[in-house]
């Protein structure tokens, strides 16, 4: 591996330029003499040894100082309800593309330290995803912009409004005033926008996010004549067909859908049933990894697959002859599609077809027709108005702004939160057009690409610093309440909009309360409204605010017209071109999280790539191009091109190249700047057609920071990752024998305790989303090591997700396995530690004692699971002070030279035990990974209690211990992965 790296020992001799060979020799020998002088002179050598000896002695004496006195700084007035030393939880919400996810945030004396999901919130159900978990670190990011700046020099809020002159606009009715906001569902923001429209009728308000579900809205408009969003009930679906929909890994209802999906994958006994998932997709997603059958096709061929599926389902024929090329691309997969169709028909009213956000509106419309035909509409899928303001209306199209900027019609442009200069197709040209606005104000967290082009930059408050409100995917309103006052003098979108709405002196807190009161009043007396407000803050949701589904009438001919119309005008094929599939990145989304080290170092779900994106290619396509993983290629679309490293992904569709959005940042993302390639540069406008790119090998090589390079099980499935089909599980003859007892080399030694902690991880439920990895990092002060560290395999994650390829070598299924310290009852690590720094506790934990560890790393060498991590450096020592505020005060911050690993969140266990001893324990303890898991794949508890879920799972049919044949007796047991393939396709 180290071959590609430049040697750090490359001598750096040439300081002056000698003129001839003699000079060169003389210069060299002088340098050499100077270098050796110190050692060849005997006195100097002795001096050196003396000094070294003294240094060593003094280093030893360094321990002989007294610890410095620490300060205790109490409050002047202790806030009501705060007890120093005890954490409090507050309910709030975060938004992505306007949709809210409910959160509970832990606060230690006014400092938010951990984010959890809100169990009462419909989009969370108590879980949270990687973005929510990592947003904590985003709060403490030192590179956030501060205060208000005019062309990068600090200025004041008063000066800003003096220049903007909010009052002047009323006279002119707002002509030349443009607003560009993130899509929003906030009732308060909507009220302000209405007020602005009233006062300034000629102002233009636009919304932009590169990842908002425009095609979903448009598809509904074709099928139902109005903009609606589908809401799925996966718990009712026996058969699910995903047409390029990554519903487990993205989207506003992702956490809820993952839970519903997993609840139908949970087979404990032979009589349980489970759902069946078919996935048609170009790139490998975690939804594809959860599929029972997966078909890899190009993104542009999904329409053909949908059309053929519709035909196989026996949908009434559209009038007129279908063009021959409509289903042409799907014909090679006819047998597969026919089997899926038969399965769907056998499950009428209990099945579901889902179209992906990136698929063209026609696919969405056709899917609505199929679901209606199968009797699923109203059962497994309902249609409801979008919570997003003006969804599907022209105000969500960026084109108008580009045209107006080009024509010089924009006098003042107010941009709130959306980094439009980066996160929009480069062809739109906003990166060059923005300076043509007379004045522009950008409310943003970072001095990014957009900030560079705007006159004013106003620091945006983090959601944990803001008052606001937002709706979930189903319309439920949550109040966003701050946990801390703005660290960087940030302001909210409401603060910036209020003066335009004629409310310059009103705080966002007042605005949100005002809006809540007017909505909640409904003739109720004020004290009752106040009670409702407190209740809403406490619970994190406002009751009865969900938007009910509507009854719809399907316009089948219109759908067929559009589908046929699209098929009749296929894009001209470009020889030698490949389809570019760019989707939001699972770590940085559209680039907005590119400054978050936890997300940057989170391995991408399938590739395990960190700190960069890559051009993913199928093995056949890579072979055709003569490239392999690590080769650099140039992707060219018209005149624009980007360079990216190749990553070969088995199971990707041939002739496509995948490049996730959000990388290749140019400004404002200190951590990610220059890493990866910018896919926006290759995108062409809002067209629903995937652009085609040419690929050229540049000959350069790139080192890729990957956390797992080998994905084969080599027939050791039974020891490592057990998997079976539902039929095998039901057939007692075929059932595998788990946990062959072997002679154990080690003593068994857990002692008596009131609790015996253990964990069960259900591989049928786990989707490999990675939320647990970030949750663990946040809870346990786990540092990030940077791309170079990952490249040297020095990543510090206590919990990782291993992925294995199962089945056909060129198109494998991906099986995932969360891997953490197994807390072996007979732990190999404990027997080799020379200083007893890792020992066993009476309640079954494999303890790691940092203050005893001397860093021999013997334990890591002897660990068969490779879950122990070594601190090669003081990763926390030089971090900016503000970032250290993110630390969990209940967990030691480890220093250089010690091992660390999963502790089963022992700080939470001990807190629970102390509470239980005092008779005030409410709920059993949860580990951080368990708490955040969207699918509840991780179950933790006391195995001494036979009634506990973890006991029942550990004693169930599917339980096995990873590498249990080594006699380690792990306390973590896995539940074999069960799949439910269609016998017809097996």
């Amino acid at each position: 591996m180290a071959d590609h790296r430049p040697s750090s020992r490359t001598p750096n001799v040439a300081s002056s330029a000698p003129t001839d060979a003699g000079d060169v020799r003389r210069a060299r020998s002088e340098q050499l003499a100077a270098a050796l002088g110190a050692l060849s002179d005997p006195v100097a050598r002795r001096d050196f040894l003396t000094r070294m000896g003294a240094a060593i002695a003094l280093a030893g004496l360094g321990g002989c100082t007294r610890a410095p006195r620490e300060e205790i700084v109490p409050y002047v007035h202790t806030p009501v309800g705060v007890t120093p030393g005890k954490a409090r939880m507050y309910a709030t919400a975060s938004t992505l593309d306007g949709y809210a996810t409910g959160l509970l945030v832990e606060s230690h004396v006014g400092r938010p330290t951990k984010i959890e999901g809100n169990p009462l919130h419909p989009a969370s159900l108590g879980a949270s995803g990687v973005f929510e978990q990592a947003s904590l670190l985003g709060l403490y990011e030192p590179s956030r912009t501060r205060g208000i700046k005019e062309r990068r020099s600090p200025t004041s809020w008063t000066h800003l409004w003096h220049v903007l002159g909010a009052s002047r606009w009323t006279k002119e009715g707002g002509a030349g005033l443009w607003f560009l906001l993130e899509p929003t569902s906030s009732p308060t923001a909507l009220a302000l926008l209405d007020r602005i429209r009233e006062r300034l009728p000629r102002a233009t308000i636009l919304f932009h996010s590169p990842t908002s579900p425009r095609h979903v809205w448009e598809g509904a408009r074709i099928a139902f004549g109005r903009v609606l969003e589908p809401r799925y009930s996966l718990e009712r679906a026996d058969v699910i067909v995903s047409l390029d929909a990554d519903f487990l890994g993205s989207g506003p209802a992702m956490l809820r859908l993952a839970r519903e999906f997993a609840d139908r994958r949970d087979v404990q006994g032979p009589n349980d049933t489970m759902n069946r998932l078919y996935v048609v997709e170009p790139l490998y997603t975690i939804t594809g990894a959860s599929a029972d059958h997966r078909l890899r096709v190009r993104a542009c061929d999904v329409l053909a697959v949908a059309a053929l599926l519709a035909k196989e389902l026996g949908l009434p024929k559209p009038p007129g002859a279908a063009p021959p090329n409509l289903t042409e691309a799907a014909v090679p997969h006819e047998k597969w599609i026919a089997a899926v169709a038969r399965d769907l028909l056998a499950h009428r009213g209990r099945s579901l077809v889902i179209a992906g956000d990136a698929q063209p509106p026609e696919v969405h419309a056709l899917v609505h027709v199929m679901n209606a035909y199968l009797g699923n509409l109203g059962v497994t899928v309902t249609m409801a108005p979008s919570p997003i303001a003006e969804a599907g209306e022209p105000s969500h199209e960026l084109g108008r702004l580009a045209d107006a900027l080009g024509a010089g019609e924009v006098d003042t442009l107010v941009i709130c939160g959306t980094n439009v200069a980066y996160a929009s197709p480069t062809e739109r040209g906003l990166g060059t057009l923005l300076p043509r606005a007379g004045k522009s104000v950008y409310l943003g967290m970072f001095e990014d690409e957009t900030a560079e082009l705007c006159t004013f930059t106003v620091a945006q408050a983090h959601p944990l610093e803001s008052w606001g409100d937002a709706r979930a995917f189903d319309g439920t309103v949550s109040i966003i309440q701050p946990l801390i006052s703005p660290l960087f003098e940030g302001r909210t979108e409401l603060d910036l909009l209020a003066p335009f709405a004629g409310r310059p002196e009103t705080s966002s807190w007042d605005l949100v309360r005002e809006r809540f009161r007017s909505d909640a009043a409904r003739g109720r007396p004020a004290p009752e409204v106040e009670r409702a407000w407190r209740e809403a803050l406490k619970r994190g949701i406002v009751e009865d605010t969900a938007i009910p589904p509507v009854t719809v009438t399907l316009d089948v001919p219109a759908v067929f017209d559009r589908v046929l119309g699209r098929a009749k005008s296929p894009p001209p094929p470009t020889p030698g071109a490949f389809e570019l599939v760019s989707r939001p990145d699972p770590r940085v989304h559209d680039g907005r999280y590119a400054n978050n080290a936890w997300l940057l170092e989170l391995p991408a779900p399938i590739t395990k790539l960190t700190w960069t994106n890559a051009a993913t290619l199928s093995p056949a396509t890579a072979a055709k191009l003569g490239v392999a993983t690590g080769d650099e290629v140039e992707l060219r679309s018209g005149v624009r091109s980007v360079r990216a490293p190749v990553f070969v992904v088995r199971g990707q569709a041939d002739d496509t190249v995948g490049l996730t959005l959000g990388w290749g940042r140019r400004r404002g993302a200190d951590l990610a700047r220059g890493r990866g390639a910018d896919a926006f540069a290759l995108l062409t406008g809002p067209s629903s057609q995937s652009p085609s790119v040419e690929i050229r090998k540049t000959g350069a090589k790139r080192d890729l920071p990957i956390t797992q390079t080998h994905h084969e099980l080599h027939g050791r499935d039974e020891d490592i990752l057990q998997h079976a089909t539902l039929a095998e599980l039901r057939d007692p003859g075929a059932r595998r024998h788990h946990d062959k007892k072997r002679l154990a080399l080690y003593r068994k030694e857990p002692g008596p305790s009131r609790w015996q902690w253990a964990m069960a991880i259900d591989l049928s439920r786990c989707t490999g989303c990675g939320a647990c990895v970030v949750a663990c990092q946040a809870e346990n002060n786990v540092p990030t090591v940077g791309p170079d560290g990952v490249y040297l395999s020095r990543e510090m994650h206590w919990l990782r997700i291993d992925t294995y390829a199962v089945g056909a070598p060129d198109d494998p299924q991906v099986a995932v396995q969360p891997m953490l310290c197994q807390h072996c009852e007979m732990a190999p690590c404990e027997y080799v530690c020379p200083v007893n720094a890792t020992v066993h506790s009476h309640d079954g934990l494999n303890e790691m004692v940092y203050n005893r560890c001397v860093g021999t790393r013997f334990c890591s060498n002897n660990c068969p699971y490779k879950v122990r991590r070594f601190n090669w450096f003081d990763y926390h020592e030089h971090e900016p002070e503000v970032r250290s505020l993110a630390h969990n005060p209940d967990v030691t911050v480890r220093q250089r030279g010690v091992m660390e690993k999963c502790t089963f969140c022992v700080q939470r266990l001990r807190e629970f035990e102390i509470a239980a001893d005092q008779g005030r324990a409410k709920a059993p303890p949860q580990t951080a990974c368990q708490q955040t898991c969207p699918t509840r794949a991780i179950v933790f508890g006391d195995i001494q209690d036979e009634g506990s879920l973890v006991s029942r799972l550990q004693n169930g049919d599917r339980a096995y211990g990873a590498l249990a044949n080594l006699g380690t007796e792990p306390r973590v047991r896995y539940l074999a992965r069960i799949r439910n393939p269609n016998p017809e396709l097996a």
Partner: protein, 215 residues
């Protein structure tokens, strides 16, 4: 000719011995040193920004421990009183005393008083006050006779060995729950007998797992 004089051998052996002694002696000395009262700070009165006298408050005024250190009963941290708590009394009592100037300044300028910590544990030790006070460990057991201290000092070494002495045999130190804050309580029967009974009754566990304190 001999290169070395005959006594070179002695020097050699002495040197070997000295090096050996240093190898054994240096760590031993360091280990011993770390346990000296100088290194642990034991018995060393600590300067504070306010000349607060526990003798006066506890003995003369009979203020209980929890009035100021309320967290001791229900939180990991005993807590230092906020300025507002001081002012509860001192807005009326000694309102113009020069000794209380820092407290008034804190109150009027809304700037906290910066006290100096007396009983310090390393950052890798997680001590929970409430776990001890609700299980019959008295304030005086660890903090000493604070009611007799003019300037507070650390009574005990606070080394791990000292902690383990009680963690191994809690019965040596337990007292009835209503005597936890009592500075002058003495057992009315043999401590071990009482301790065993209290240990049974209060469900006191002898926790010697590393992660009981190191997390």
């Amino acid at each position: 000719m001999n290169l070395f004089p005959s006594y070179a051998n002695q020097i050699y052996w002495v040197a070997i011995g000295a090096i050996g002694l240093a190898i054994v002696g240096t760590p031993t000395a360091l280990i011993v040193w770390a346990r000296t009262p100088y290194a642990t700070g034991q018995g060393d009165p600590v300067e504070q920004p306010v000349k607060f006298d526990h003798r006066h408050h506890v003995r003369d005024d009979a203020v209980t421990c929890e009035y100021c250190h309320g967290g001791a009963m229900n939180s990991p941290m005993a807590g230092i009183p906020s300025t507002s708590l001081c002012m509860n009394c001192h807005s009326q009592v000694w309102p113009s005393s020069p000794e209380l100037e820092p407290v008034r300044r804190s109150w009027f300028e809304d700037e906290p008083i910066r006290w100096t910590r007396v009983n310090t544990l390393p950052d890798f030790v997680f001590f929970d006050h409430s776990a001890h006070t609700t299980h019959g460990v008295g304030c005086v057991t660890c903090h000493g006779r604070v009611d007799l201290m003019g300037q507070v000092y650390q009574e005990h070494p606070l080394t791990m060995r000292w902690c383990l002495d009680c963690h191994r045999e809690p019965e040596k130190y337990l007292r009835p729950l209503d005597k936890v804050t009592d500075m002058e309580w003495t057992p009315d029967r043999p401590q071990l007998e009482l301790g065993r009974e209290l240990r049974e009754r209060l469900g006191v566990r002898s926790l010697t797992n590393c992660t009981a304190c190191h997390r």
